[in-house]
């Protein structure tokens, strides 16, 4: 997918937006704590403005290429965040089993429809995989993974 976008101006706007987010709460801080962030913020704003000006005078790339499917990209990105949220509420094992199963199914569909038989074949594989990692982290590495409502 190709989007027509002046990347210099886009990068400049991103820089200005980021600077604005951090510029607002700076007033509450003491001199020693703000002296460095303030200097970097000023430099960031100068660079961002420079990029926007360059974007009008001598623009760099005028297009952005998103290789592959934008929909799949957004679905998987959203899936990651839902997975993260589910770990806290359902627990690591349950949420990870479900997330890996759904992601595997969703991505495998690119090659064509996935039969029930294949889906059933994946269940033990995913179960063992998640189980091995769960036990490695909890028993060997002594990391307490979130248990949530289930496990």
């Amino acid at each position: 997918m190709i989007l027509r976008l002046n990347t210099d101006i886009a990068a400049g706007i991103v820089g200005l937006a980021f600077a604005a987010v951090l510029w607002l709460p700076r007033g509450e801080m003491g001199r020693l704590s703000i002296i460095f962030p303030r200097a970097v913020l000023v430099i960031l704003v100068v660079i961002a403005v420079g990029l926007i000006v360059k974007g009008f005078i001598r623009p760099g790339s005028r297009r952005v290429v998103i290789s592959g499917s934008l929909r799949r990209l957004l679905v998987v990105m959203t899936g990651f965040f839902v997975w993260w949220f589910a770990i806290g509420t359902l627990g690591f094992v349950v949420s990870t089993c479900v997330a890996i199963f759904l992601l595997t199914w969703y991505l495998a569909r690119v090659d064509g429809p996935v039969s029930w038989r294949r889906l059933l074949q994946w269940v033990p594989i995913i179960g063992v995989l998640v189980g091995v990692f769960y036990l490695t982290f909890t028993q060997v590495l002594n990391v307490r993974l979130p248990t949530g409502l289930l496990l």
Partner: protein
Amino acid sequence: MDMLLQALASLLTFESFITVLVGVSAGLLIGSLPGLTATMALAVLLPFTFSMEALQGLIALGAVYMGAIYGGAFTAILINTPGTPSSIATTFDGYPMARQGRAYEALAAATIASVVGGLVGVAFLLVLAPPLARLAVAFGPAEMFWVAMLGLTLVASLSSDSLLKGLLGGCIGMLLSTIGVSPVGGETRFTFGFPPLQGGVELIVALIGLFVIPELLTMAAEGRGALSKEGGFGKSHVSILQVAKRIFTKPVNLIRSCLIGQLIAIIPGAGGNVTSLVAYNEARRFSKDPDSFGKGNVDGVVASESSNNVMVAGSMVPLLTLGIPGAPPDAIILGVLLLHGLRPGLDLFTETGVLTNGFILSMGLAALMLLPVGLIGGRLIHRVVIKTPYYFLMPCIAMVTILGTFALRNSLLDVGIMLILGSAGYFLRLIGIHAAPIVLGLILGGIAEQGYVQTMLAAVIDPIPWLRLVSNPLSKVLAGLVVIGAATALLPAWLERRGLLDKVSSKAGGDA
């Protein structure tokens, strides 16, 4: 010398051998998967080192690093897809060799070159790092500020098409480093009333997010299958000894590539892709038969693979002496050093000299281990890589990424930060703001802030406090280097615009 012998003794244990063997194999496996870089290999395997002693953990990661860089050559040669960016130049001649049925010869040459490159890098690190660490003591706050700026300028210019975008990424990284409690003053900054943010953005969390998540999203978007099955080892018409004889009887190319690799590795931020491309270009330029490059000349493979493996240990010179990573994967090593309470500088070579030298020597052992692992285990690893469907691989890597991030501080918030940075990193990359300057900004932000604030405090009675930053000769030199670094980044574009620069490099790329 005593420390070196003690380090060697601590390395010659069964446990260390197994750690190196497993580390090299794991690195080789991940490195041979296209899209999965050495940084990713280190980030994904990092949590497995948490329960290890400091030396053992560093040995494991050093071995993974070495294995991953070498692993990139497998797919570069067999299916024309570099497993890691460091192997881009290996495809130029490696793949044509494979198509001519000389895959084994190319792989053998890549293995020998990688082993030699790895050993040379370790030798340079052993020789160069201690004196440079002693020199680092002379660096006061103002000098450290300029060193941080120099690193950032070089990274910004090397890793982005546009210097301005690189610097913008660096500034974003530096500002991210200011979230949490300030190092001078002790106040809480930029937490937006959310107390868990007081801990700041953990370096490794940001690294995993910015380097791993965008690759996973790309894999998902492209629906990229596992490797095509076209790449095979082919029948070997030559033995490894014949290949070795050919390389060592004409050693100039190997020596030159190693030297180029080491010189570039010292520059902060110049990764293996830069070293291998420069070494390949020079090999072609000095060759008696430059036209054969790009058509299956084994010297091209040797130049690329020796230089990128020199970079593994070589890039740790600035890391261990000044705390500035020479290449993105070094940032993970820095994170591990800090996790174990080890700070780069002279102390690493005095107080914890045995550990540091043990780590350096272990990379030499890992380089030697490439020979058996690469030649024997390579076939097996390649088969596994080919047969693993990407739709299994991607969610599994995501799981390990989430686990590794959580395990750092037992914090789900870190996982969220990692995902936010990763998702943002994907879109930032689209508009030309790459991960490397942001991560380097995050690392160098702390160093720069301490240097800057301490210098300003010392200059509080000066009429113009800023001038204290360039008040002594060393800081003047470093400030000059920052300006030169920025200027050299702008020079090629300026020359090209004026029509003064012959586009030789683009022609080279086209031929390859």
